[in-house]
Symmetry: none
Subunit: 196 residues, 4 copies
DNA sequence: AGCTAATCGAGACGGTACGTCGCGTCTTGAC
DNA sequence: GTCAAGACGCGACGTACCGTCTCGATTAGCT
C-alpha cells in the first residue's frame, strides 16, 4: 500500500518543475531552440541553476519533460469503425498535430536526439512509442495474422513519409497528404493480406 | 581569359582543406558528433583556427564539405531497365549506402540541419536533391503523365520510410526492407496510374 | 532555583559537538585548511548541516571550539623560581607546543582571523590571552614597577619572534631559538629596569 | 643579444595586467579582502575572466602581482651612518609603511599565505626577502663576524615584534614602538658581539 | 630585386554557457 | 526543541568554444 515511500528531507517544489518547463517552451517559441540554455531557463523561470541540475541531468531531459506536459494533453483519439476509416483519421490527426507547435517541438527534440543516442532511446520510449502503439492497434485489429516484422513495416511505411516531410523536406502536412499516405498504407495492407 | 581571376597574394594551401575534412570526419567517428568543434578540428588537423574560418563560415559548412568528399565518391548508379527493376535497385543501393558510415554522416548533418533552417536548405540542395532527382527520373520514365504533386508524393512515400528508420527508429536498412519499400512504392504507382 | 533553565524539547546531543570538532581537525590534518567547509565537516562527522549551524554561527567559531578542545588540554605550567629561569622555561614550552600540531592549528586560526577582524578579537580573548597573561605574570613578579606600556612591549618582544617564525618564516622553533629569545628578553628587561 | 625571443601569436596587452592590478587593489580597499573574486576583478577591470586565468593561475598570484606594483614604488631608503642610527631609521620606516595601506595589503597577503604554503614561499621570495636583505646588510656592516644563524636570529628579533603587532595584536606601530624595538635589537647585537 | 597582398601559425581577447561547489536558510517527518 | 535529510537561492569557481583580433613569417605574382 506504500505509494512511493516519501523521500527524506525537504520535498521538491513541484511548482519549480512547472516553471522550468514553461520557461523552456517559451524560449523555444520565442528565440528558437538554440536559445535554450540551462542558464537562460533558470533565469527565466526564476529558479536557481542548481535546482535545474538537481532534477534533470542534461538539458535534453528537461526539454523532454517540458514537451511531455504539452503533448500529454493532446492524445489523438481515433474512435473510427469503418475498415480503413480509422487509418485515415489517424493520419489526419497526426499530420495536424505535427503541423502546429508540436511539430516544432518534435524537430527540436530530434535535433537533440541525433546528437545523443541515449536521448533518442528515451524520446522513442516516452513519446514516439505512444503513437506507434496506437497505430499498431489499428493494424492488428484488421489483420490479426501479421507477424511482428510485417507490423513494424506497415507502421514505418505509414509514419515514414510524414516524418520525412516534417524533418527533411519541410513540406506541408495537409489533409490531402494525410489521405494519400493513409490510402497508400491501405494498399500495402491489402498486398500483405493477400499472399497469406 | 583566365577564369578564376587569380587573387593576389599567397594562394591557399589546398592540402589544408583536405586535412580539415579528415579531422572532422575522424572526430565524428571516434568521439561522436558532439566532439566536433572548430577548435578541435583545428587542433587535430594541425591548422590554425583562422584558416578554418577563412574557408568556412560555420561549422556546418565545414561538415557539409567534409561529407561531400566522402559521398561524392559513391554516387549510386542504377542502370536497370525492367519496369519495377530499377526501383528495387535504387532502394537497395540507397539502403546499403545509408547503412554504413554514410548513414552516420547523414545523421550528423541532420542534427545540424534541424538547428539551422538555412543549413537544411543547403543540405537538401547540395546533397539530398541528387538522389531525389534520380528517383524522380525513374518515376517520370514509367509514368510520364503524373503531375508535380504526385511525383513528390511518390518520392516521399519511397524515401520517407528509409529515412524514418535511419533517423528515428535506428532500425536495420537491409535488403528485405528495401525490397518491401520498393514493392510498396510500385503498388502506389499502380494506384496513381489507375486514377479513375 | 534550577540554574540553566533547561530548555524545552529534545536536548542537544553533546556527542555531536565532539564529532564535529574531530571532523574539522581531521580535515585540517589530512587535506589542509582549505578543505574545511561546513559541508565537509557535516559529511565527515555524519551530522546534518543544520546541526552545525545551530551550534556555531560561522565556520571560524567551530574551528575555534575544535581548537579549544586540543589546546585546553595542554596549558603550560612553569613553576620556576630562579630570576630568569621561568622565562626560559616559558619560552621552551611555548616553542615546543607551537612546533607540533598545535602550531598547525594556530596557523589555521590565524588564516581565518586575518580575514575577519571580529574573529581575531575572539581568538585573542579566548586563547592567545592566556599565554600573554602568564607571561605578564613573570614580568610583573620580577619588575613590579613597569607601567602597562612597558609590559606590553616586553611581551611583544618575547612572543613576536616566535610567532614570526611560526607564521611567516616557517623556521624551526627549537630549544636553541627559545633560549636566545628568552635571554634577549632578559637583556631587554635589564635595560628597562636600569633607567628607572 | 636576444632579449626574450618574442613569443609567437598575438602579444598580451600589458594594459590589461595593469587594469587587473588596479581593480584588485580597489576592491581590497573598498570592500575588503573577501570581496576580491576573479569574477569581480574581471568585471571591474573590464576584462574577460579567461584573460585573468591566462595570466595568473590563482587569485593569490594576481594579488601578489598587484601588491608588487604598489610596494615596488616604496623601497625604504636608509642612508644612515651613525652606529645604531640606521637601525632606528629602518625600524621607523618599516613601521610607518606597515601602518598605512601597505599594512592592510600585507595582512591580506598573509591571510592567503597561511592557507597555501607555496604562496607563502612566493610571498617571502618576492617581497618579504627585500626588507630582510636590507636589514641583514645593516647587521653585517656592523658585526661582520656573525654567523648565519646569529644573523637570522637578529633579523627575527627585530622584525618579529613588528609583524606580531601587525598581524595578531593589531597594536599601533608608532615611532615610540619602532624606537624600542630598534634599541632592543641594539642591545641584542651587543650581547652577541661580547661573548665572542 | 622590390613591392604588394593574401595566407598561415600562434595565441590573445571579450563573450556566453557550462556543470560544480559551498554558503546559509528553509522545510519535511521522526524523535 | 533537536535531528537527518535534502531542497533552495545565490555567488563564484575554473573550463570550453565561440568568432574576432593581432602579431611575425611565408609565399606567391607583378612590377
Amino acid at each position: 500500500m506504500n505509494e512511493t515511500p516519501r523521500a527524506a528531507g525537504r520535498p521538491r517544489n513541484a511548482e519549480h518543475s512547472r516553471k522550468a518547463h514553461q520557461a523552456a517552451l517559451d524560449l523555444l517559441r520565442e528565440h528558437g531552440y538554440a536559445s535554450i540554455s540551462m542558464e537562460a531557463v533558470a533565469d527565466r523561470a526564476g529558479i536557481a541553476k542548481q535546482t535545474l541540475y538537481r532534477r534533470w541531468k542534461h538539458k535534453s531531459a528537461l526539454i523532454l519533460d517540458a514537451f511531455a506536459e504539452q503533448a500529454d494533453q493532446l492524445p489523438t483519439l481515433p474512435p473510427a469503425e469503418t475498415p480503413g476509416e480509422d487509418l485515415l483519421v489517424f493520419a489526419r490527426a497526426t499530420c495536424r498535430t505535427l503541423s502546429g507547435e508540436c511539430g516544432t517541438l518534435n524537430r527540436a527534440l530530434m535535433a537533440e536526439a541525433l546528437q545523443s543516442p541515449e536521448f533518442l532511446v528515451d524520446l522513442r520510449e516516452r513519446h514516439l512509442s505512444k503513437r506507434r502503439r496506437q497505430l499498431r492497434g489499428i493494424f492488428v485489429r484488421q489483420l490479426p495474422d501479421l507477424d511482428e516484422r510485417q507490423l513494424e513495416l506497415l507502421i514505418d511505411l505509414m509514419l515514414g513519409p510524414i516524418w520525412y516531410r516534417l524533418l527533411i523536406q519541410n513540406a506541408p502536412l495537409d489533409d490531402a497528404f494525410a489521405d494519400l499516405v493513409a490510402s497508400n498504407t491501405l494498399v500495402a495492407m491489402a498486398a500483405l493480406a493477400r499472399p497469406a
